[in-house]
Symmetry: C2
Subunit: 351 residues, 2 copies
């Protein structure tokens, strides 16, 4: 945990501090980016609410549960920022940012679906209010709605990028399911999972901003590469925070990944470097899913023993460098500066 | 059950009988349509198998479970038939027919997802092998793959039609979920459910065939109307067969809808016309989901007492007439003849 920076103020919840734009280490780059793009972001929120409407009441009800409650809007923010960085001056990026958020929300809803085995283990968490079936169907509605919006926008290139990302997300999620609880999963395979489930939509969200601004292939590819590396960094830090952060600072409960038997980067490291007894611990708790109350404490200890948090953060850091390098060829600009800082923030954040 | 025609030969399983093309009452119109379009249908099957591929093994594995096992291919057949009827001579309809089947299969997979309450009632049927989560994620993959195929095809009009159908399907399914076990559901609301969950994709499948052939708006609308009415007829007869058919003739087990507490047209009729005691029976078995072994027999008796099967079939019959009327303005053609016969077959079939 030594590499983690001190806690920072709430993300997008407190007032942005315009005076601190030159202080990347403070970690509020996303907040300042949201502030810089506040008009676009407000228009995106309005588009999201408007297009969630359906005469079938359960749909806006459940969708609002996730969307209107106000998430970080990280992915749509990337679309807005990329479009702005590429000099776009129209309105299409707002609608496409809404599409990106719909796709993200749909995947969250589908991720909420649990199996009987999860229920037995007491994990009927997120979809407890509405149930599996509602999560699936409302997610489907949001997916379809996202594609309707894209069709209305009329760019086959945008459609291609976001369809492709959707297929990649699904493949990543299926791969995660196939490797779940399997400590034999290697790092490349794990990276393939998070490339799918996280990085693909980050990459697409950024690329769409360049496409809408009609920039050349190299610029589109640069923004896609930035988004992909940023997504990898975010996911790795998410993995780390689940074993590292103080519970009251985190949106999610610390230890969730452990309790769900999720294979994440810190666990793969601790398992790979663990002795026979340690491996038996992970086999019992993660593979077999047999956990008692003291196991979380042991897991934290083993993670610390192998510096698995520090090593996870270090890996995230190198992705952040990749992300920044991808933006280097683009012209210097306040948006580019904040996007680069966002990559640092992805690593330094405590929540 | 008096309105049901005698049993017919297996659908798409035995050899087509070319000599009987003028005998609509025999009910093998779909088989003959498949035979007439055998080359296109084989190409569609090949496209389906090819595009199901993924290096994530669980995907083709689970998809094959539903697709390659060889369903009726009813919806893609409608796309192929409509395109042919509209004089289309290219290859695009094959790929779009595969898209239609992918969307259908994705909805089937998502329909397999069960809630904890279903599990308690012992209904973990179709997804028992792979689980909820796999059904959701592989369904998502197929949806995304379908849209990728459409993007590759390049018609925004086709994309608009199938995105819109997908949103309508999801809305219909959510509405069904909202009205599940609710005997207060009225007929218009029930029709809205089946328009969404069944008729929308039938309509879109047909309309896409006309669009690909670049026919005028009136022709596209006529084929959409045909598909929609045909879908309504099919769904109503499905509802009827669940209470009417002999078990060994049916793909699905008779009484499934009853055991799952599904509100279908025959039940709504029997409930609306039932006396106080009968209503209490439906309230207990359908609304409260409390069933004993003798209840299915009682349900059959009550359905018969109110001629609910006959009245369901009669309603399906009027949709079949609508379907045929929609095709009337189109030029006479063997394909049009078989599509009209298919509407009759939708009503007369026993499985």
């Amino acid at each position: 945990m030594t590499r983690l920076k001190p806690p920072v103020d709430g993300l997008l919840t407190s007032e942005p501090d315009a005076a601190t734009t030159s202080a990347p280490a403070k970690g509020d780059a996303l907040q300042r980016l949201a502030s810089l793009l506040a008009v676009d972001l407000a228009a995106t929120n309005a588009a999201i609410i408007a297009r969630m409407a359906s005469e079938v009441e359960l749909i806006p009800q459940l969708a609002a549960h996730l969307i209107a409650a106000g998430g970080k809007r990280l992915r749509p923010l990337l679309t807005l920022a990329s479009a702005r960085l590429c000099g776009y001056r129209g309105e299409r990026h707002v609608r496409l940012a809404a599409c990106v958020e719909f796709i993200h929300t749909a995947t969250l809803l589908h991720d909420d679906v649990v199996d009987e085995s999860d229920l037995r283990r007491g994990l009927a968490s997120a979809n407890a209010v509405f149930g599996n079936k509602a999560s699936v169907l409302v997610g489907d509605f949001l997916f379809a709605r996202a594609f309707e919006l894209m069709v209305a926008d009329g760019s086959l290139e945008v459609l291609r990028i976001l369809c492709n990302a959707s297929a990649t997300i699904a493949e990543g999620e299926v791969l995660q399911l196939s490797t779940q609880n399997d400590l034999g999963t290697d790092i490349p395979r794990y990276f393939k999972v998070i490339e799918g489930k996280t990085a693909a939509l980050f990459a697409a969200a950024c690329e769409v901003g360049a496409v809408v601004a009609q920039r050349d292939a190299a610029t589109c590819a640069a923004l896609s590469a930035y988004g992909s590396a940023l997504g990898m960094a975010f996911q790795l830090v998410d993995d780390a925070l689940d074993y590292a952060a103080d519970q009251d600072e985190l949106g999610k409960t610390v230890g969730d990944d452990f309790r769900e038997g999720k294979l994440t980067y810190p666990v793969l490291i601790a398992y790979a470097d663990g002795d026979a007894q340690e491996r038996r611990f992970w086999q019992r708790t993660i593979e077999a899913g047999e956990q008692t109350e003291v196991d979380l404490k042991t897991a934290f200890d083993l993670i610390a023993r192998h510096d698995a948090i520090g090593r996870t953060i270090a890996r995230a850091h190198s992705f952040a460098l990749e992300a920044k390098a991808a933006l280097a060829p683009l012209p210097d600009d306040p948006v580019r500066g904040l996007m680069m800082e966002a990559a640092d923030y992805a690593v330094s954040r405590r929540r």
